[in-house]
């Protein structure tokens, strides 16, 4: 078994969810490293793209923002925001997109808040806002969410619903007029959470080595079904090696 950090484990867990042939939409930070890891490990035909319009960037160096000039070098197409989001909303290409997001709060249906804590007009804490997260969450069939597993983050009700998950559960997206699907997986520092096929409520899929399902429940405001949870396979030596040598050799993110 490889020696690995929690952050590396999370990255690999996300990377494993990206199928070969996917068009991976990623933001800054760990999601970008996960997309790169997938491409280097098991999804060589996946395409990394950014909301800024860069398609299939080489990423010889790790970008620190989706508008970093490093995303513009040696791409298939350097486009614009109009193009990038249209690929997600487009009925042919959108179906191939895997979106990766993060947030400050998440509820049991995978709805995300990245805007404010507290009242919208008198916020206790202001965050960056949606960026492209609401867009990708609205459009695509396949999305992954990175979260820190804390009670104040896994909440009964998000203070502001920035990016749509499964909304109010079964049939919620259809009722609102959304065509894509809610999130597939939530990848945290303790577990991988999935969503029940029928009810669309969050469930525990995998707990990390050394973490109990009970500990996970303690770190959430709402309860989830833990009955089918299994322990996650730790990263392999090869996965960790590729992550360190090919994806973030300068240690800028991991």
């Amino acid at each position: 078994m490889a020696d690995y950090t929690l952050r590396e484990l999370m990255t690999i867990a996300a990377a494993r969810e990206i199928p070969d042939g996917a068009i991976t939409f990623c933001g800054t930070g760990i999601s970008m490293v996960a997309a790169m890891a997938a491409k280097h490990i098991h999804a060589p035909n996946s395409t990394i793209f950014f909301e800024t319009g860069a398609i299939d960037s080489l990423l010889e160096e790790l970008p620190l923002a989706v508008a970093d000039p490093r995303v513009m070098y040696y791409t298939a197409v350097n486009g614009a925001l109009t193009d990038a989001f249209a690929y997600m909303q487009n009925r042919k290409t959108g179906k191939q997109v895997v979106g990766i997001m993060g947030a400050a709060q998440i509820d049991c249906f995978g709805n995300l808040n990245s805007t404010v804590i507290g009242d919208y007009h008198e916020p206790k804490v202001r965050f960056s806002g949606s960026g492209g997260a609401c867009d990708v969450a609205s459009f695509v069939d396949h999305s992954l969410i990175f979260m820190q597993h804390e009670k104040r983050k896994f909440v009964n009700k998000v203070d502001y619903l920035t990016s749509p998950g499964w909304l109010d559960g079964a049939g919620g997206r259809e009722r609102a007029g959304l065509t894509g699907k809610g999130p597939s997986k939530v990848i945290t520092n303790m577990a991988i959470m999935g969503f029940d096929e029928t009810s669309k409520r969050m469930v525990l899929d995998y707990y990390y080595p050394g973490i109990t399902p009970e500990k996970i429940l303690e770190n959430m405001e709402f309860a989830v079904d833990i009955s089918k949870a299994k322990e996650l396979q730790p990263p392999t030596n090869n996965e960790i090696r590729i992550l360190r040598e090919k994806c973030d050799p300068q240690g800028l993110i991991l």
């Binding site: 620190l64 989706v66 919208y120 619903l161």
Partner: protein, 325 residues
């Protein structure tokens, strides 16, 4: 047939002429890239107030305009600066202090709003944000909206698909056009008549430029019309959209300008410290912005060594092996 262009201006004149107190302003670029920073600093120097700012994700430019107290209201999708600021620090403070009013959109929505403005139509449709608080929660009250004819009476409207069921769509979000009083973009090359060329990603600059009532283009390099017209496939903005052309080398600094220079990690790391403390921030403004007469003096204060350090490698368009920790 070539007439000496009256559009060619000094930065100070362009800002004085087109950027007024209370104007509706849009700036180009995206987080750490190609923000028209020279123009932003000049707006701060000239002490503009009560600006209504439109931005999708203009990290650094937004934070400095907000930090210097130029902004009253802002419509925005994302106020972060990549790894350097998950949330822009002065923006965060200003919203939490309620010294600015903010209204939230998604990045695609802001882009579509500029695109609608450029197309000369009142709105564009999308499915983005159905079922979310981006629709439900308005940053500006009905009253504020009605008082300023430049703001639509409603934020976003959810409507039916008039072609029932066409493309399997029932409902849509209609996002209203933006036509800023003035847009400022920084580009790699332009000629004196205003025809402009952006290298690398164009972000939403082209849509922002065409949506504006007045357009200021600052450029890294002022080139001949002959040079521009020899490679027209790589140009995006024709002269007739442009009101002022400003030759401003390093005009995007401290953000990056592809093929010219990278962003300056030292600046961003220092800025993070200044921005986190009100006194330090005032000192920063006093020294770097108000203490310099123009962009060249600002650059001199940064120093040639720092600039040299971020010069773009010709193969990749950025500074390879730059220390970005």
């Amino acid at each position: 047939m070539t007439v000496k262009s009256e559009k060619l201006m000094a930065l100070s004149s362009a800002i004085e002429t087109f950027v007024t107190d209370g104007c509706h302003l849009s700036i180009g670029g995206f987080t750490v890239n190609r923000n028209p920073m020279g123009a932003v600093y000049e707006i701060i120097r000239q002490g503009r107030k009560k600006i209504h700012l439109y931005a999708h994700s203009n990290g650094q430019g937004v934070d400095e305009l907000v930090g210097a107290g130029c902004v009253e209201k802002i419509e925005i999708a994302y106020a972060g600066n990549g790894r350097f600021a998950p949330t822009c620090i002065r923006f965060k403070r200003a919203v939490q202090n309620r010294s600015i009013l903010v209204e939230d959109y998604s990045n695609y929505q802001m882009t579509l709003r500029f695109q609608a403005g450029a197309m000369g139509i009142p709105f564009l449709p999308t499915r983005s944000s159905l079922g979310t608080d981006i629709i439900n929660k308005w940053g500006f009250s009905k009253k504020i909206r009605q008082e300023d004819p430049r703001i639509p009476d409603e934020k976003l409207i959810v409507g039916e698909n008039p072609f029932k069921g066409w493309t399997d769509t029932k409902a849509l979000v209609f996002v209203p056009a933006i036509n800023p009083d003035v847009t400022i973009i920084h580009v790699q090359q332009a000629d004196e008549h205003g025809t402009a060329r952006i290298q690398g990603l164009t972000m939403a600059d082209v849509e922002q430029a065409k949506a504006a009532k007045h357009l200021i283009v600052t450029c890294e390099e002022l080139v001949s019309s002959d040079e521009m017209k020899s490679k027209p496939d790589t140009n995006q903005i024709p002269h007739f959209c442009v009101d002022a052309v400003v030759h401003l080398p390093w005009g995007a600094y401290p953000t990056a300008c592809y093929n010219n220079y990278d962003y300056d990690p030292i600046f961003f790391n220092d800025y993070k410290i200044f921005a986190s403390d009100d006194t330090l921030y005032q000192n920063y403004l006093d020294k770097f912005i108000h203490g310099t007469k123009n962009h060249q003096e600002f650059l001199d204060l940064i120093g040639g060594k720092r600039l040299q350090n971020i010069k773009a490698d010709p193969r990749t368009g950025y500074a390879i092996n730059l220390d970005r920790k």
